[in-house]
């Protein structure tokens, strides 16, 4: 632009740019610092970390010393896998049923199904604990799967409904007018087109289940503990440096998974829109 840069424009650039830089630093720095700290030689969480060693990772992968951590990680993966699996089936069916309906009831049902996202997780966790206990159930992996299903399913429903709404209705109409049955249209037209949406939602649901604290806090016992609950315990009592190593593994896993999802289904684009 030909206009001379006024004081106001310079102050705008400096202030907005400075605050944005601060935001990026605050987002990225802690993650980098944890990664660096996890390679320390020392026994304590000091910064800058002393020396470089893989000692804490060796301890973490030692099947005897870290048996508890491995068991809780197994529980987490198992619960996340099954709650996502059930979530995909139920949410995809519901999205197909309600997605193109304009009725009032369908909209009410849709907001009901999305409501676990706004309800404080700790309230649902407590409610589930009271409910299952009064029904006489004891803490088990199955109850954890049921609890996680409710709080992670909305992610799948959201992305699946979004990709259904972008589906050209002419495709379905032409498939039907060419004589294809409803089921055949579903299998050969609808599902292949909405599959990336389902996959993105399933990924988010899986990660949300792995990460979930409020529901696991109330529904787990010593036998069914998940990794985040175990890490919370390790952070509350003695500050075990293995937490840094677990964090390092989780950071690497999240990074790799996210790259994969970005290349295959365009994850960030779906989250932005």
């Amino acid at each position: 632009m030909g206009r001379r840069r006024s004081f106001g424009d310079v102050s705008y650039g400096l202030l907005i740019g400075g605050l944005a830089l601060l935001a990026v630093t605050i987002i990225v720095a802690p993650v980098v610092i944890v990664l660096m700290t996890s390679f320390t030689e020392g026994q304590a969480l000091k910064f800058p970390p002393k020396g470089f060693s893989l000692g804490w990772y060796e301890q973490l992968f030692d099947p005897v010393k870290s048996r508890q951590i491995h068991k809780t990680a197994g529980n987490s993966l198992w619960i996340a896998a099954f709650s996502t699996l059930f979530g995909v089936v139920l949410a995809t069916l519901a999205a197909l049923g309600l997605g193109r309906s304009r009725s009032r009831l369908a909209r009410v049902a849709d907001s009901l199904f999305m409501s676990p996202l706004v309800l404080p997780g700790i309230t649902f966790g407590l409610a589930a604990l009271v409910y299952f206990s009064l029904l006489g159930f004891r803490p088990s992996i199955e109850l954890m799967i049921a609890g996680h299903l409710i709080v992670t399913m909305p992610f799948i429903l959201r992305t699946t409904t979004a990709s259904l709404s972008q589906l050209d209705p002419a495709l379905l109409d032409s498939s039907q007018s060419l004589g294809a049955s409803w089921l055949y249209t579903l299998r050969r037209v609808t599902l292949p087109l909405i599959a990336p949406g389902i996959a993105a939602g399933a990924f988010l649901a899986f990660m949300a289940s792995i990460d979930n604290v409020p529901v696991s806090l109330f529904l787990s016992n010593a036998r069914t503990d998940t990794l985040p609950i175990r890490m919370w315990g390790m952070m509350e009592s003695t500050l075990d440096v293995r937490v840094a190593a677990v964090s390092g593994v989780l950071i690497a896993a999240a990074f790799v998974l996210m790259l994969i999802m970005e290349w295959t289904v365009g994850l960030t684009r779906r989250m932005r829109d």
């Binding site: 424009d9 935001a23 009901l112 706004v118 404080p120 609890g147 937490v243 964090s247």
Partner: protein, 285 residues
């Protein structure tokens, strides 16, 4: 609706029935039961009555806890807007390639466990943490600052932990703004500040409010971050719920506390989204 294939009784909406049943059994029933349990007086849940509500609201300490919890949410919203909004503005000016990279950086922490993000802040804010060792190395301070177990440290940590929830709706709304509007404002002689406050901010209001809602709801209920970084002396409502239910085992009182959390958080959320719809109407009409 078109005829649903060969089975004449089949209707598309019936596909939602399995999920509806699961929700009735695993979501609605527990929540209704929780409301019911709050109207019992004793830990064994045998005498119905209002004693738990009276006990909770008869204690002035609990009002302070509710106030502190809502205030924590408000402070976190302020800090995330203060640094998140400028970042969203910068995002708009980046090339498509850099936008992709920045979006990746923003979304990545969201997929990282909250426990990991909380732990990261222990490393940063601890006695021998990054902030203290840098400041002491520079000679700014001689004694380590106490940042953990303070509200300041908690707000800083929550700012990072909740930031993606602010940025995603904000960026989503802002990138749909017509770039010509900004150019027009500049061409008509408005300074960049004036363009920001009279054009961009009003038009991005729906995204800003959506971000505020998410950050507020999430930070007021962030149990792990509140207890690990806030410690035991900073008491917020989620800690009270946890203590009453899993330490004291007084479920009716825990139910009262958690219903209070839902009502107080959701009423702020509802008020904000009402304001959001109004501002949306103002912008569009």
């Amino acid at each position: 609706m078109k005829e649903g294939g060969k089975l004449s009784l089949f209707r598309e909406w019936q596909l939602a029935v399995p999920l509806a049943l699961a929700f009735a059994a695993l979501f609605l029933a527990p929540l209704l039961l929780l409301v019911g349990v709050s109207f019992y007086n004793d830990e064994k849940i045998t005498q119905p009555g209002f004693a738990s509500w009276l006990k909770f609201y008869g204690d002035p300490f609990n009002y302070k806890v509710i106030g502190d919890t809502l205030l924590l949410g408000a402070k976190t919203v302020c800090t995330t807007v203060l640094i998140g909004y400028p970042l969203a503005l910068v995002y708009l000016d980046l090339s498509a390639r850099l936008q992709k990279v920045l979006l990746f950086v923003i979304v990545m922490p969201l997929l990282l466990s909250v426990v990991v993000r909380t732990f990261a802040w222990i490393v940063v804010l601890g006695r021998e943490g990054v902030v203290n060792s840098v400041l002491m190395g520079l000679g700014v301070i001689s004694e380590p600052l106490k940042l953990l177990q303070t509200e300041l440290g908690l707000v800083i940590s929550l700012t990072q932990i909740e930031m993606p929830l602010m940025l995603l709706p904000l960026i989503s709304v802002m990138s749909r703004l017509d770039p010509n509007l900004r150019d027009a404002s500049a061409a008509l002689g408005a300074s960049r500040w004036r363009t920001l406050f009279t054009v961009i901010v009003p038009l991005s209001m729906p995204g800003l409010i959506a971000g505020c809602l998410l950050v507020f709801a999430s930070s007021t209920t962030a149990f792990i971050s509140q207890t690990v970084i806030g410690g035991v002396r900073l008491i917020y409502l989620p800690l009270v719920i946890w203590q009453q239910s899993l330490v004291v085992y007084h479920w009716p009182l825990a139910a009262v506390a958690s219903l209070s959390l839902v009502v107080s958080v959701l009423s702020v959320v509802a008020a904000l989204s009402w304001a959001g719809r109004r501002s949306g109407g103002y912008v569009n009409g």
